[in-house]
């Protein structure tokens, strides 16, 4: 979901004249708040969330402090440098190259014992280190007291306590960074601490065991010297939550209920802004029309600009924006709270039975935001075989660009006859069913892949369940809207403008008295009819390749171009438009099926190509869902014809 990640490396690289520029690397265990520290230092909005493995690539940002400029690199979380996974290799290689002027090791104050392991390992490579003990606020709540001075003494490097979420202690951290970079403070790593520790990937296993056991012993000694637990039951609250969220009786129902509530809020909440936006755009259209008429512009220009570009553009915004703007933040809040890893925990057995990895449910969850991000997120799965399965099936989760399409169809065809609260509930249940179908297919395809082309036994599943955290609701909402919703919308808008123009041209250029659009849709018509759709819908899915958000607007544009109806301001009128163009319940069902099961959008395809480095797998990732979609629609259509 960290869509911003793509932009990071390019942005803010304007060279301003500073005295010096230093490179700072942020390292640490997964889920200790590295990204939060990164954001707090750089003022950037790298996506944060409470689950291990969220950051899988190096992100880079800049900050200035006094006269110096710092390039800050957010390394992926690592448990150790004796790497056993891709993201750990990324971090290890970076640290081994010794390019950083200073390494800040971010640690979790609530879990120092294990965190110290990595600290010792990094200290054995470089001594330009600052240990940042983060989440001090949480530790305090749990009654964990850390003697930072003693810790600094034991390690031989500066130790700074922070609470990055509330931006506490960051000045001290920057101060310490500066001192190390300009050489004012020299670190003298305690010799006996790192004695005999070699960090290398080619160490024989027995030596590695010994090294790790040694490190563990040393860490335990330091821990006992520096950390005191004043409350014995500091994990009690988390345990109670886990009892509720992961037990046999309540685990799965609560999970479904949780998603149900999120979808319900999205569906019900999106209605109102959708209507307002439609009304607003309609008003603007009147003024625009008058203006263009005043200019005496030719008819074709009016048609091109208003009926083509403007209509498609406003449709994308009015129908697609509200559900996105509501779903994104809600999901982020869930992510912030630490609930997502519990889903992986609950669902792991299903994935194990399919010879896949439980962390696949985490990547699927990311897929709700954006499939491309879900695909990148698959790096958290260590085994290449299981990672590939997760990549190939990620598209079965409807991303934020497809969710509004499903919601619109459900509201028009299935929930319209209900009223009030019931309407929202019916929509939610149907949407949930559609998504469960997608998840079910994910499992079946995973099983199929691991029994055929991606044969293998399940690798080990080791997942950390982080402590629950109170989500920062307001901050999350603001950030989701500005960071992610607008970014996704921007992408959709960029695609919607040329798409609208193209369709208008197709609909208005005649050859032998028949429009080009008619030629195109007629071409797809037989195939479309066969699978319960029509030529327009098939063409819309194909033209929607750059961004799924524009599928529905294209369908509507095509229908409107045939002159049946030109007014649209509510779903009821839209419904009439669709019915007049031959839509039935079967068409609606088949469109929804195709919406979940068809080739990934172009961004996702490019990402899959990058991640798998294989054209073959990319092609397969497009073929599998499309084939399933076509087959399912074919069956549904045949059943409906028989009935």
């Amino acid at each position: 979901m960290g869509l911003t990640r793509f932009k990071l490396s390019k942005s803010k690289s304007k060279e301003v004249n500073f005295k010096n520029q230093y490179k700072i690397a942020l390292a640490g265990n997964p889920n200790v708040g590295k990204s939060t520290v990164f954001n707090a230092l750089t003022g950037l909005n790298q996506h944060t969330g409470n689950w291990p493995g969220k950051t899988v690539t190096n992100a880079e940002g800049y900050c200035r402090y006094n006269d110096n400029k710092y390039a800050i690199i957010d390394l992926p979380g690592t448990y150790s440098l004796l790497a056993s996974s891709t993201e750990e290799e990324v971090a290890r290689d970076y640290l081994k190259d010794n390019t950083a002027d200073c390494v800040v090791i971010v640690t979790d104050a609530t879990c120092m014992l294990r965190n110290l392991n990595l600290v010792v390992q990094i200290l054995s490579i470089t001594n330009k280190v600052i240990v940042c003990v983060n989440l001090l606020d949480e530790a305090k709540k749990k009654g964990i007291v850390i003697d930072l001075d003693e810790l600094s003494l034991q390690l031989g490097v500066p130790v700074i306590g922070t609470a990055a979420r509330s931006k506490k202690g960051l000045d001290k951290l920057l101060d310490a960074i500066e001192k190390i970079c300009i050489g004012e403070r020299k670190c003298h790593t305690v010799k006996e601490l790192i004695q005999g520790i070699k960090i290398n990937s080619e160490i024989p296993q027995n030596e590695r065991d010994e090294i790790l056991t040694n490190i563990n012993k040393r860490c335990e000694r330091i821990y006992n010297l520096c950390v005191t637990n004043t409350k014995n039951d500091y994990t009690l609250k988390d345990r109670r939550f886990d009892k509720l969220f992961t037990s046999k009786i309540t685990g799965i129902p609560i999970m479904l209920l949780m998603f149900g509530v999120i979808f319900w809020i999205t569906i019900t909440g999106a209605n109102y802004p959708s209507q307002w936006l439609s009304w607003l755009f309609e008003q603007i259209k009147t003024y625009l029309s008058a203006f263009i008429e005043y200019l005496n512009a030719p008819d074709w220009l009016y048609g091109f600009l208003i009926d083509g570009v403007y209509t498609t553009l406003t449709w994308v915004i009015a129908v697609m924006l509200p559900p996105m703007a509501i779903f994104f933040p809600l999901f982020s809040i869930l992510e912030d709270s630490g609930y997502l890893p519990r889903i992986a925990f609950n669902m792991d057995n299903c994935f194990k039975k399919c010879n896949a990895h439980g962390k696949q449910s985490l990547t699927m969850a990311m897929g709700f935001g954006c499939n491309a991000c879900g695909v990148i997120g698959c790096r958290i799965i260590d085994s290449p075989r299981e990672r590939l399965i997760a990549i190939l099936t990620n598209n079965f989760v409807p991303c934020n660009g497809r969710l509004p399409t499903l919601i619109a169809i459900i509201s028009m065809f299935f929930a319209a006859s209900f009223f009030g609260v019931l309407q929202g509930i019916v929509s939610t249940v149907i949407l949930l069913a559609v998504i469960l179908l997608g998840i079910f297919m994910t499992l079946i395809v995973s099983k199929f892949l691991s029994n055929t082309i991606l044969k293998g036994i399940p690798s080990s599943f080791i997942l950390e369940l982080p402590p629950y955290r109170r989500p920062q609701i307001l901050k999350t909402i603001v950030r989701s809207i500005f960071d992610r919703t607008l970014f996704v919308l921007g992408r959709a808008v960029i695609v919607a403008i040329p798409a609208g123009a193209l369709i208008w041209i197709l609909a208005n250029v005649h050859i032998n008295d028949i429009t080009l659009l008619k030629y195109c849709t007629d071409f797809f018509e037989p195939f479309g009819k066969m699978i319960g759709l029509d030529g327009v819908i098939v063409m819309a899915f194909i033209l929607g390749f750059p961004a799924n958000e524009i599928v529905v607007p294209i369908i509507l544009m095509c229908y409107m171009a045939t002159g049946v109806l030109t007014d649209y301001s509510s779903l009821t009128e839209l419904y009439t438009l669709l019915i007049n163009n031959g839509w039935t319940i079967t068409t609606a069902i088949c469109t929804m099926i195709m919406c979940i099961f068809h080739f990934p959008c172009s961004t996702t395809c490019i990402t899959i190509k990058k991640e798998t480095k294989s054209f073959k797998w990319t092609l397969l990732s497009a073929f599998i869902p499309t084939a399933i979609g076509v087959i399912l629609c074919l069956i549904i259509n045949m059943i409906s014809l028989l009935l």
Partner: protein, 79 residues
Amino acid sequence: MNSNTLTLREIKSGEKCKVEDLLSKGKARNRLLDLGFVKNSIIEVLQKSPSGDPVAYFVKGCVIALRSEDAENILVREI
């Protein structure tokens, strides 16, 4: 190895045990070591997932979920 050595899988929820040895090899072994499943560290069995597998363990101040196959590879002593 003495007679009261069990695998971690056999320990019931709510009970504590001490790590004796790891049977797993390669990457899985390294990862377990990284997470604190080293000799003599104390593990508390927390909560089973709805289907009974995986199980959550409390080790070195963190909650770690393991599948039964991995838990079987961890030899422990009851305490």
